[in-house]
Protein backbone atom coordinates (compact mmCIF):
# COMPACT_ATOMS: atom_id res chain seq x y z
CA UNK A 1 0.00 0.00 0.00
CA UNK A 2 2.73 2.42 1.04
CA UNK A 3 4.70 1.46 -2.07
CA UNK A 4 1.67 2.30 -4.26
CA UNK A 5 1.28 5.61 -2.50
CA UNK A 6 4.96 6.32 -3.08
CA UNK A 7 4.46 5.64 -6.80
CA UNK A 8 1.53 8.05 -6.84
CA UNK A 9 3.47 10.65 -4.87
CA UNK A 10 6.36 10.39 -7.31
CA UNK A 11 3.93 10.78 -10.20
CA UNK A 12 2.20 13.79 -8.65
CA UNK A 13 5.52 15.44 -7.82
CA UNK A 14 6.61 14.89 -11.42
CA UNK A 15 3.41 16.57 -12.64
CA UNK A 16 4.00 19.44 -10.23
CA UNK A 17 7.73 19.99 -10.66
CA UNK A 18 8.54 18.26 -13.96
CA UNK A 19 10.95 20.35 -16.00
CA UNK A 20 11.85 22.42 -12.97
CA UNK A 21 13.60 19.83 -10.81
CA UNK A 22 14.46 16.15 -10.98
CA UNK A 23 12.10 14.07 -8.89
CA UNK A 24 13.73 11.27 -6.85
CA UNK A 25 12.78 7.65 -7.51
CA UNK A 26 10.66 7.46 -4.36
CA UNK A 27 8.85 4.31 -5.43
CA UNK A 28 12.02 2.29 -5.98
CA UNK A 29 13.64 3.79 -2.92
CA UNK A 30 10.69 2.51 -0.88
CA UNK A 31 11.07 -0.98 -2.33
CA UNK A 32 14.83 -1.09 -1.73
CA UNK A 33 14.37 0.20 1.81
CA UNK A 34 11.88 -2.56 2.55
CA UNK A 35 14.20 -5.15 1.01
CA UNK A 36 16.97 -4.06 3.36
CA UNK A 37 14.68 -3.87 6.36
CA UNK A 38 12.57 -7.03 6.02
CA UNK A 39 15.18 -9.48 4.94
CA UNK A 40 13.47 -12.58 6.28
CA UNK A 41 10.25 -12.04 4.38
CA UNK A 42 9.32 -13.55 1.08
CA UNK A 43 10.51 -10.92 -1.39
CA UNK A 44 8.96 -12.00 -4.64
CA UNK A 45 6.49 -9.13 -4.13
CA UNK A 46 9.36 -6.69 -4.55
CA UNK A 47 10.27 -8.06 -7.97
CA UNK A 48 6.74 -7.87 -9.34
CA UNK A 49 6.01 -4.57 -7.64
CA UNK A 50 9.11 -3.13 -9.32
CA UNK A 51 8.01 -4.67 -12.61
CA UNK A 52 4.48 -3.27 -12.37
CA UNK A 53 5.61 0.10 -11.04
CA UNK A 54 8.22 0.42 -13.78
CA UNK A 55 5.73 -0.59 -16.45
CA UNK A 56 3.16 1.94 -15.23
CA UNK A 57 5.84 4.61 -15.08
CA UNK A 58 6.87 3.80 -18.64
CA UNK A 59 3.25 4.04 -19.78
CA UNK A 60 2.75 7.33 -17.98
CA UNK A 61 5.98 9.15 -18.68
CA UNK A 62 8.03 7.38 -21.35
CA UNK A 63 5.37 6.15 -23.74
CA UNK A 64 7.30 3.01 -24.61
CA UNK A 65 7.09 0.17 -22.08
CA UNK A 66 10.29 -1.47 -20.92
CA UNK A 67 12.78 1.17 -19.88
CA UNK A 68 11.88 1.67 -16.25
CA UNK A 69 10.31 -1.82 -16.08
CA UNK A 70 13.67 -3.36 -16.81
CA UNK A 71 15.59 -0.80 -14.74
CA UNK A 72 13.48 -1.21 -11.61
CA UNK A 73 13.63 -5.02 -11.77
CA UNK A 74 17.39 -4.89 -12.38
CA UNK A 75 17.88 -2.71 -9.30
CA UNK A 76 15.73 -4.98 -7.14
CA UNK A 77 17.65 -8.07 -8.30
CA UNK A 78 20.97 -6.32 -7.73
CA UNK A 79 19.97 -5.34 -4.21
CA UNK A 80 18.60 -8.82 -3.46
CA UNK A 81 21.79 -10.48 -4.70
CA UNK A 82 24.25 -8.13 -3.03
CA UNK A 83 22.43 -7.90 0.29
CA UNK A 84 21.98 -11.68 0.52
CA UNK A 85 25.60 -12.27 -0.42
CA UNK A 86 26.95 -10.06 2.30
CA UNK A 87 27.66 -11.50 5.74
CA UNK A 88 26.07 -9.72 8.69
CA UNK A 89 29.36 -7.91 9.46
CA UNK A 90 29.47 -6.48 5.97
CA UNK A 91 26.02 -4.90 6.07
CA UNK A 92 27.23 -1.51 7.10
CA UNK A 93 25.54 1.82 6.81
CA UNK A 94 27.75 2.66 3.86
CA UNK A 95 26.67 -0.46 1.95
CA UNK A 96 23.03 0.27 2.76
CA UNK A 97 23.54 3.80 1.52
CA UNK A 98 25.10 2.58 -1.74
CA UNK A 99 22.27 0.12 -2.34
CA UNK A 100 19.68 2.82 -1.65
CA UNK A 101 21.62 5.12 -3.95
CA UNK A 102 21.56 2.50 -6.74
CA UNK A 103 17.78 3.01 -6.83
CA UNK A 104 18.39 6.65 -7.78
CA UNK A 105 21.28 6.10 -10.13
CA UNK A 106 20.45 3.13 -12.34
CA UNK A 107 16.85 3.71 -13.55
CA UNK A 108 17.40 7.14 -15.09
CA UNK A 109 20.69 5.96 -16.54
CA UNK A 110 19.22 3.02 -18.46
CA UNK A 111 17.18 4.94 -21.08
CA UNK A 112 20.19 7.13 -21.77
CA UNK A 113 22.49 4.14 -22.13
CA UNK A 114 20.05 2.36 -24.43
CA UNK A 115 18.88 5.30 -26.53
CA UNK A 116 22.04 7.38 -26.27
CA UNK A 117 22.39 10.95 -25.11
CA UNK A 118 24.24 12.91 -22.51
CA UNK A 119 24.97 10.66 -19.55
CA UNK A 120 27.07 13.13 -17.63
CA UNK A 121 26.58 16.65 -16.47
CA UNK A 122 24.10 18.29 -14.23
CA UNK A 123 21.09 16.04 -14.89
CA UNK A 124 22.22 13.08 -12.79
CA UNK A 125 24.00 15.24 -10.26
CA UNK A 126 20.86 17.28 -9.62
CA UNK A 127 18.72 14.16 -9.32
CA UNK A 128 21.13 12.73 -6.76
CA UNK A 129 21.11 15.97 -4.80
CA UNK A 130 17.31 16.15 -4.77
CA UNK A 131 17.15 12.48 -3.73
CA UNK A 132 19.67 12.85 -0.91
CA UNK A 133 17.22 13.93 1.83
CA UNK A 134 14.89 10.99 1.10
CA UNK A 135 17.85 8.65 0.91
CA UNK A 136 19.30 9.82 4.23
CA UNK A 137 15.86 9.52 5.79
CA UNK A 138 15.63 5.88 4.67
CA UNK A 139 19.12 5.25 5.99
CA UNK A 140 18.16 6.76 9.32
CA UNK A 141 15.00 4.60 9.45
CA UNK A 142 17.05 1.53 8.59
CA UNK A 143 19.58 2.32 11.35
CA UNK A 144 16.82 2.81 13.87
CA UNK A 145 15.16 -0.42 12.82
CA UNK A 146 18.46 -2.32 13.13
CA UNK A 147 19.13 -0.96 16.59
CA UNK A 148 15.56 -1.75 17.72
CA UNK A 149 16.06 -5.31 16.46
CA UNK A 150 19.09 -5.59 18.75
CA UNK A 151 21.76 -5.10 16.11
CA UNK A 152 24.32 -2.37 15.65
CA UNK A 153 24.45 0.17 12.89
CA UNK A 154 27.49 2.06 11.79
CA UNK A 155 28.80 3.47 8.55
CA UNK A 156 32.01 1.45 8.24
CA UNK A 157 31.92 -1.98 9.90
CA UNK A 158 29.89 -3.86 12.50
Amino acid sequence: MIISLLWLLQDILTVLFGGVMQIPELFLLGIVYRLLKDEDEERVWAIWSAFLGGLLWDLRWVGIPGFFTFGYVAVVLLVLWLWSSLPLQGRTGLVAFLLLESSQLIPPLLPVLILGGNTGGSFFLMEQIYALPALLFCLWLYGRHTREAGGTFSLSSK
Binding site: V15, L56, D58, P65, G66, V73, S84
Partner: protein, 264 residues
Protein backbone atom coordinates in the same frame (compact mmCIF):
# COMPACT_ATOMS: atom_id res chain seq x y z
CA UNK B 1 19.15 -16.13 -3.11
CA UNK B 2 22.54 -17.56 -2.27
CA UNK B 3 21.88 -18.86 1.19
CA UNK B 4 22.52 -22.49 2.11
CA UNK B 5 19.75 -22.75 4.71
CA UNK B 6 17.17 -25.19 3.15
CA UNK B 7 13.99 -23.08 3.52
CA UNK B 8 15.81 -19.89 2.75
CA UNK B 9 17.46 -21.58 -0.19
CA UNK B 10 14.07 -22.39 -1.68
CA UNK B 11 12.94 -18.83 -1.01
CA UNK B 12 16.02 -17.38 -2.68
CA UNK B 13 15.58 -19.82 -5.55
CA UNK B 14 12.00 -18.64 -6.04
CA UNK B 15 13.16 -15.04 -5.96
CA UNK B 16 15.82 -15.80 -8.54
CA UNK B 17 13.33 -17.48 -10.88
CA UNK B 18 10.81 -14.67 -10.50
CA UNK B 19 13.51 -12.06 -10.90
CA UNK B 20 14.87 -13.59 -14.08
CA UNK B 21 11.35 -13.98 -15.45
CA UNK B 22 10.59 -10.31 -14.72
CA UNK B 23 13.89 -9.27 -16.28
CA UNK B 24 13.16 -11.28 -19.43
CA UNK B 25 9.68 -9.80 -19.62
CA UNK B 26 11.17 -6.37 -19.15
CA UNK B 27 13.67 -7.01 -21.92
CA UNK B 28 10.89 -8.35 -24.13
CA UNK B 29 8.86 -5.17 -23.54
CA UNK B 30 11.94 -3.09 -24.19
CA UNK B 31 12.62 -4.86 -27.44
CA UNK B 32 9.10 -5.15 -28.78
CA UNK B 33 6.97 -2.83 -26.64
CA UNK B 34 6.93 -0.09 -29.23
CA UNK B 35 5.83 -2.52 -31.93
CA UNK B 36 3.03 -4.14 -29.97
CA UNK B 37 0.54 -1.60 -31.24
CA UNK B 38 -1.34 -1.49 -27.98
CA UNK B 39 0.95 0.81 -26.10
CA UNK B 40 -0.60 4.03 -27.40
CA UNK B 41 -4.12 3.18 -26.34
CA UNK B 42 -2.86 1.82 -23.03
CA UNK B 43 -0.82 4.95 -22.49
CA UNK B 44 -3.91 7.07 -23.18
CA UNK B 45 -6.07 4.97 -20.91
CA UNK B 46 -3.55 5.02 -18.08
CA UNK B 47 -2.96 8.73 -18.53
CA UNK B 48 -6.71 9.34 -18.37
CA UNK B 49 -7.01 7.34 -15.18
CA UNK B 50 -4.14 9.15 -13.56
CA UNK B 51 -5.45 12.55 -14.54
CA UNK B 52 -7.93 12.31 -11.65
CA UNK B 53 -5.40 12.06 -8.79
CA UNK B 54 -3.01 14.30 -10.71
CA UNK B 55 -5.63 17.01 -11.19
CA UNK B 56 -4.75 19.17 -8.13
CA UNK B 57 -1.05 19.04 -9.01
CA UNK B 58 -1.74 19.87 -12.65
CA UNK B 59 -4.03 22.72 -11.58
CA UNK B 60 -1.42 24.06 -9.17
CA UNK B 61 1.25 23.85 -11.85
CA UNK B 62 -0.87 25.62 -14.44
CA UNK B 63 -1.73 28.33 -11.88
CA UNK B 64 1.95 28.76 -11.09
CA UNK B 65 2.90 28.89 -14.77
CA UNK B 66 0.12 31.41 -15.41
CA UNK B 67 1.32 33.55 -12.50
CA UNK B 68 4.90 33.28 -13.76
CA UNK B 69 3.84 34.26 -17.27
CA UNK B 70 1.88 37.21 -15.89
CA UNK B 71 4.86 38.31 -13.82
CA UNK B 72 7.10 38.10 -16.87
CA UNK B 73 4.52 39.98 -18.93
CA UNK B 74 4.36 42.61 -16.22
CA UNK B 75 8.13 42.96 -16.19
CA UNK B 76 8.14 43.26 -19.96
CA UNK B 77 5.38 45.85 -19.77
CA UNK B 78 7.22 47.81 -17.09
CA UNK B 79 10.36 47.79 -19.23
CA UNK B 80 8.29 48.87 -22.20
CA UNK B 81 6.71 51.63 -20.12
CA UNK B 82 10.12 52.94 -19.05
CA UNK B 83 11.32 52.80 -22.66
CA UNK B 84 8.20 54.61 -23.89
CA UNK B 85 8.56 57.26 -21.21
CA UNK B 86 12.15 57.89 -22.24
CA UNK B 87 11.12 57.96 -25.86
CA UNK B 88 8.27 60.32 -25.03
CA UNK B 89 10.63 62.65 -23.15
CA UNK B 90 12.98 62.68 -26.15
CA UNK B 91 10.07 63.36 -28.49
CA UNK B 92 8.88 66.20 -26.29
CA UNK B 93 12.35 67.64 -26.30
CA UNK B 94 12.52 67.28 -30.05
CA UNK B 95 9.10 68.88 -30.39
CA UNK B 96 10.18 71.75 -28.13
CA UNK B 97 13.36 72.21 -30.12
CA UNK B 98 11.42 72.24 -33.37
CA UNK B 99 8.98 74.73 -31.91
CA UNK B 100 11.91 76.87 -30.73
CA UNK B 101 13.51 76.77 -34.13
CA UNK B 102 10.20 77.70 -35.70
CA UNK B 103 9.72 80.60 -33.31
CA UNK B 104 13.30 81.70 -33.87
CA UNK B 105 13.02 81.56 -37.64
CA UNK B 106 9.73 83.47 -37.51
CA UNK B 107 11.32 86.03 -35.27
CA UNK B 108 14.39 86.36 -37.45
CA UNK B 109 12.33 86.83 -40.58
CA UNK B 110 10.09 89.37 -38.90
CA UNK B 111 12.85 91.29 -37.17
CA UNK B 112 13.94 94.84 -37.55
CA UNK B 113 17.09 96.42 -36.24
CA UNK B 114 17.20 99.23 -33.72
CA UNK B 115 20.28 101.14 -32.68
CA UNK B 116 21.33 101.55 -29.08
CA UNK B 117 21.39 105.29 -28.54
CA UNK B 118 22.22 105.50 -24.86
CA UNK B 119 23.72 103.28 -22.26
CA UNK B 120 24.19 105.28 -19.10
CA UNK B 121 27.22 104.36 -16.98
CA UNK B 122 25.12 104.48 -13.81
CA UNK B 123 22.76 101.86 -15.15
CA UNK B 124 25.23 100.12 -17.47
CA UNK B 125 23.98 96.59 -16.72
CA UNK B 126 20.34 97.56 -16.32
CA UNK B 127 18.96 99.26 -19.40
CA UNK B 128 19.64 100.82 -22.79
CA UNK B 129 17.77 103.34 -24.89
CA UNK B 130 16.97 102.47 -28.50
CA UNK B 131 15.95 104.60 -31.43
CA UNK B 132 12.47 103.25 -32.06
CA UNK B 133 9.30 104.18 -30.21
CA UNK B 134 5.55 104.39 -30.43
CA UNK B 135 5.72 105.58 -33.99
CA UNK B 136 7.20 102.21 -35.00
CA UNK B 137 4.57 100.39 -32.92
CA UNK B 138 7.00 99.39 -30.18
CA UNK B 139 5.11 98.30 -27.08
CA UNK B 140 6.08 97.83 -23.48
CA UNK B 141 7.08 94.23 -22.67
CA UNK B 142 8.25 93.31 -26.18
CA UNK B 143 11.32 91.09 -26.26
CA UNK B 144 14.55 92.40 -27.74
CA UNK B 145 17.24 90.24 -29.26
CA UNK B 146 20.94 90.26 -29.90
CA UNK B 147 22.60 87.70 -32.21
CA UNK B 148 19.27 85.87 -32.28
CA UNK B 149 19.14 85.42 -28.48
CA UNK B 150 16.89 87.16 -26.00
CA UNK B 151 18.69 90.20 -24.64
CA UNK B 152 15.93 91.87 -22.61
CA UNK B 153 12.57 93.53 -23.02
CA UNK B 154 11.10 96.95 -23.60
CA UNK B 155 10.48 98.61 -20.26
CA UNK B 156 9.15 101.97 -21.36
CA UNK B 157 8.15 103.54 -24.64
CA UNK B 158 8.10 107.18 -25.78
CA UNK B 159 7.20 108.60 -29.16
CA UNK B 160 10.57 108.23 -30.89
CA UNK B 161 12.56 106.05 -28.54
CA UNK B 162 12.21 103.30 -25.99
CA UNK B 163 14.06 101.87 -23.00
CA UNK B 164 14.95 98.19 -22.92
CA UNK B 165 15.80 96.45 -19.69
CA UNK B 166 18.56 93.92 -20.38
CA UNK B 167 19.18 90.43 -18.95
CA UNK B 168 21.98 91.59 -16.66
CA UNK B 169 19.52 93.76 -14.73
CA UNK B 170 18.61 92.33 -11.29
CA UNK B 171 15.05 93.59 -11.64
CA UNK B 172 14.33 91.63 -14.83
CA UNK B 173 13.11 88.14 -13.90
CA UNK B 174 12.39 85.76 -16.75
CA UNK B 175 10.93 82.27 -16.29
CA UNK B 176 13.00 79.79 -18.30
CA UNK B 177 13.18 76.11 -19.07
CA UNK B 178 16.31 73.93 -19.22
CA UNK B 179 15.69 72.39 -22.60
CA UNK B 180 17.42 69.05 -21.98
CA UNK B 181 15.65 68.32 -18.68
CA UNK B 182 12.51 70.47 -18.96
CA UNK B 183 13.23 71.88 -15.49
CA UNK B 184 11.90 75.34 -14.80
CA UNK B 185 13.83 78.19 -13.24
CA UNK B 186 14.22 81.92 -13.30
CA UNK B 187 16.90 83.94 -15.07
CA UNK B 188 17.94 87.26 -13.59
CA UNK B 189 20.93 89.56 -13.72
CA UNK B 190 23.20 90.38 -10.83
CA UNK B 191 23.64 94.02 -11.79
CA UNK B 192 27.33 93.49 -12.44
CA UNK B 193 27.27 91.95 -15.90
CA UNK B 194 26.42 88.43 -14.81
CA UNK B 195 23.28 86.46 -15.60
CA UNK B 196 22.10 83.89 -13.10
CA UNK B 197 19.78 80.90 -13.27
CA UNK B 198 17.96 80.26 -10.01
CA UNK B 199 15.55 77.83 -8.37
CA UNK B 200 16.77 74.68 -10.13
CA UNK B 201 16.52 71.62 -7.82
CA UNK B 202 19.91 70.30 -6.67
CA UNK B 203 21.20 66.75 -6.99
CA UNK B 204 19.82 65.83 -10.39
CA UNK B 205 23.07 65.55 -12.27
CA UNK B 206 25.40 67.77 -14.23
CA UNK B 207 23.68 70.57 -16.16
CA UNK B 208 26.62 72.50 -17.51
CA UNK B 209 26.23 73.22 -21.22
CA UNK B 210 22.46 72.73 -21.25
CA UNK B 211 20.45 75.28 -23.20
CA UNK B 212 17.94 77.72 -21.77
CA UNK B 213 14.83 79.12 -23.38
CA UNK B 214 11.92 81.21 -22.15
CA UNK B 215 9.16 79.26 -20.51
CA UNK B 216 5.49 79.71 -19.84
CA UNK B 217 3.68 82.80 -20.96
CA UNK B 218 5.18 85.89 -19.48
CA UNK B 219 3.42 89.02 -20.65
CA UNK B 220 4.63 89.60 -24.20
CA UNK B 221 7.56 87.20 -24.12
CA UNK B 222 6.49 83.97 -25.79
CA UNK B 223 7.88 80.60 -24.64
CA UNK B 224 10.79 78.98 -26.49
CA UNK B 225 12.97 82.04 -27.11
CA UNK B 226 16.64 81.07 -26.75
CA UNK B 227 18.59 82.76 -23.99
CA UNK B 228 21.95 80.99 -23.77
CA UNK B 229 23.42 78.05 -21.90
CA UNK B 230 24.33 77.05 -18.38
CA UNK B 231 27.99 77.86 -17.72
CA UNK B 232 28.76 76.73 -14.16
CA UNK B 233 27.28 76.00 -10.78
CA UNK B 234 27.71 78.86 -8.33
CA UNK B 235 26.00 77.85 -5.09
CA UNK B 236 23.47 75.63 -3.43
CA UNK B 237 20.82 77.13 -1.20
CA UNK B 238 19.88 75.47 2.09
CA UNK B 239 16.47 74.77 0.54
CA UNK B 240 18.00 72.40 -1.99
CA UNK B 241 18.19 74.65 -5.02
CA UNK B 242 21.16 75.54 -7.17
CA UNK B 243 22.20 78.84 -8.68
CA UNK B 244 24.04 78.66 -11.99
CA UNK B 245 25.96 81.24 -13.96
CA UNK B 246 24.43 81.64 -17.40
CA UNK B 247 26.38 82.30 -20.55
CA UNK B 248 23.89 84.45 -22.51
CA UNK B 249 23.78 84.30 -26.28
CA UNK B 250 23.56 88.09 -26.40
CA UNK B 251 26.89 89.90 -26.13
CA UNK B 252 26.35 92.75 -23.71
CA UNK B 253 29.89 94.07 -24.25
CA UNK B 254 29.33 94.68 -27.95
CA UNK B 255 25.83 95.98 -27.66
CA UNK B 256 25.48 98.50 -30.46
CA UNK B 257 22.18 97.42 -31.88
CA UNK B 258 19.34 95.09 -31.05
CA UNK B 259 16.60 93.32 -32.98
CA UNK B 260 12.97 93.42 -32.16
CA UNK B 261 9.84 92.13 -33.67
CA UNK B 262 8.60 94.11 -36.64
CA UNK B 263 5.13 95.45 -36.01
CA UNK B 264 2.81 96.33 -38.86
Amino acid sequence: MFDHHPSRGIQRHRELVHGLLALILGLFLLGGGANLGISKSVVDLWGGMLSIPEYPAALLRSLFLEWQARSQDRLVLEDELVRLREENAKLRLLEANLANEKILSELVTGMREARVMLRAPMSWWNEVRIDVGKLENVKEGMPVFHHGYLAGRISSVSRLSSWAEILTSPSLLIPVVVQETRELGVVMGNGEGGVLLKYIPAGRGERTGMRLATALIGEQIPPGLPIGKIAEELEKTPDGYVTYRVEPGADFSRFYSISLEAMP
